[in-house]
């Protein structure tokens, strides 16, 4: 993060890098300045307070609540699945992570359905938005995910035990890649 303020120095490649960094930095600052001007010129002060509040809360909720909680959950998971070995632990963790990411995008749909209370015909409400059964879809998705992870864990566990018996060299054993 050291940038020579005076100007480019050194070899040709270093000069190029200096110029690219300086240009990008200047463009970035210009865009930020433009944004500041845009906010002040187009968004009323009362709304600006709302924007600042949303930015602050987003940072606090994400950095102060979500990340610490997921880190704790990850630690707890490591203890719970300790007996599985690193490869299968990775499978369980990966499945949970995929499920969490999909839930992050799908859960707001379910919440929006509750909050916006789509009503019957004749109410004038738009019947073409938020009409899916998202709770059911998310439930099915989790079931499939858990079943798939369980099958992999069971299959590798079973296969692993058998191959120990038949003394197949460890390196030739298929299944999810060992990680570590």
């Amino acid at each position: 993060m050291r940038l020579h303020w005076v100007g480019p120095s050194g070899s040709g490649q270093r000069k190029t890098v200096w110029w690219v960094r300086a240009t990008l930095g200047a463009l970035g600052l210009a865009a930020l300045g433009y944004a500041l001007f845009g906010f002040l010129a187009n968004v009323p002060p009362v709304q600006l307070i709302g924007v600042v509040a949303w930015l602050a809360v987003a940072l606090l909720v994400h950095d102060g609540v979500l990340v610490p909680l997921t880190t704790l959950a990850g630690g707890g998971l490591s203890r719970l699945t300790y007996g599985l070995g690193p490869g299968l632990q990775g499978v369980v963790r990966g499945a949970l992570l995929v499920g969490a990411l999909v839930t992050l995008v799908a859960a707001p749909l379910i919440r929006a359905q509750q909050v916006l209370e789509p009503s019957g015909p004749g109410s004038g409400a738009n019947g073409t938005v938020l009409q899916g059964d998202y709770a059911l879809a998310l439930g099915v998705f989790w079931l499939v995910l858990v079943a798939a992870a369980a099958v992999v864990v069971a299959a590798v566990g079973l296969f692993g035990r058998r191959s120990k018996v038949s003394a197949v060299p460890k390196s030739e054993r298929p299944g999810p890649e060992r990680s570590g």
């Binding site: 924007v51 994400h62 909050v115 916006l116 738009n126």
Partner: protein, 376 residues
């Protein structure tokens, strides 16, 4: 680093497609309007919303992988360091808010005390500026990462294709992870999660993925006449006026003015085109539209070919109340004052008795319940 690259790409794509959409809706004098391909806006706005959804898992993963940086001690080393941290805080907060309000907007859910349109647009400038600044600041790290990668490739080539142990490449993000959680496993899970999220939502914008659409707020082929709706007649408060038997369309150019009843419009030459309607919220729908060419209609009042038009809806006020149509669209043979949709008269919610449909324009400009077309 890998996540950052993908996220940076996603943000850049979102910025450019969003800017395009903004320029179409609020065009400066130099704006170039393209009417072909007719699915142009379907593509750009579908990509905008889908990439925005894809950036949610990427953003969460990137922030999680750099979280240890937040806790690094001492928190402030110098004024420059403080400024860098403040710029990162702004970057992170803006990105989180931007993707959140963008997603909720596609649900037509607005639980915030500010204008979505303005804030989403100006935050985009904050984010793209912060991204450029961030790359400028981190460039030595990025270059070091790349040269390490090429060293790695060179080693691999030297050792006859053998892949070197990934442990020899120290990832700066490793510190935050559990000891059993490999970098590769983490990236694979993020890739899978992003893939699932994209595949289960992109079907609201792209017909070839509509079979997988389970987590998008919109479905294709739903609604009256198998076309979704942005705003119903009841929401717009136009039902009575639109259904009134005394409805006439007023067409004017300067002092020349004509009125047409619905039967008179239907007696003019009718043309039928398959055109998509694509909403700023990302959903789109192909449909067959039939009606009068706008350029034929304007010829009846002797409007000049390069005239810009103002289209007025029976809906009063707001962004839907009226729209402006540059000559590029009004002169296009496929731009219609549509009276029929998919073989039937327009449904009330689709703009009965007459609505605009033009190729390659945002749905918000395809004005419904039209009652006046005038040269300005």
């Amino acid at each position: 680093m890998v996540l950052g690259r993908w996220l940076g790409l996603a943000f850049t794509v979102c910025f450019l497609t969003g800017l395009f959409s903004h320029l179409l809706q609020d065009p400066p004098g130099w704006m170039l309007f393209l009417t072909r391909p007719v699915w142009l806006y379907v593509a750009t706005q579908g990509i905008h919303v889908t990439t925005g959804i894809a950036s949610i898992p990427l953003l969460v993963a990137k922030l999680w992988s750099v979280y240890p940086e937040l806790l690094r001690w001492p928190p402030l080393k110098s004024v420059v360091h403080g400024l860098e941290r403040a710029s990162i805080a702004l970057f992170v907060a803006s990105s989180l808010v931007e993707v959140t309000i963008g997603l909720l907007n596609t649900f037509q859910w607005y639980p915030w005390p500010f204008s979505f349109r303005d804030v989403h647009y100006w935050l985009a400038w904050v984010i793209i500026g912060s991204l450029a600044l961030h790359i400028a600041v981190k460039m030595p790290l990025i270059l070091a990462h790349w040269s390490r990668r090429s060293d790695e490739a060179a080693i691999a080539a030297d050792t006859d294709g053998g892949v070197p142990d990934s442990a020899t490449v120290p990832a700066p993000t490793k510190a935050g992870r559990g000891h059993n959680w490999s970098r590769r496993g983490f990236l694979a899970a993020i890739t899978a999660g992003t893939g699932v999220v994209v595949l289960t939502t992109a079907g609201q914008s792209f017909a070839w993925l509509s079979g997988l659409n389970v987590f998008a707020p919109r479905r294709m082929d739903t609604g009256p006449q198998a076309v979704p709706i942005n705003r119903t007649a009841a929401q717009a408060g136009v039902a009575d006026a639109a259904l009134a038997s005394e409805w006439v369309l007023t067409v004017s150019s300067g002092t020349v003015q004509k009125t047409f009843t619905l039967p008179q419009l239907a007696a003019l030459p009718q043309y039928s085109y398959g055109l998509p309607i694509a909403c700023v919220e990302g959903w789109s729908q192909g449909a067959q539209w039939r009606g009068v060419r706008i350029r034929d209609l304007m010829a009846t009042v002797g409007a000049p070919a390069d005239a810009e038009l103002q289209i007025s809806s029976m809906e009063k006020g707001g962004v839907y109340g009226r729209s402006f149509m540059p000559a590029a669209y009004s002169q296009d043979e496929q731009t219609l004052l549509a009276l029929e949709l998919n073989g039937k008269p327009l449904d009330l919610d689709h703009g009965y008795p007459a609505r605009i449909i033009a190729p390659g324009r945002p749905g918000v400009l395809q004005t419904k319940w039209v009652h006046k077309v005038e040269v300005i």
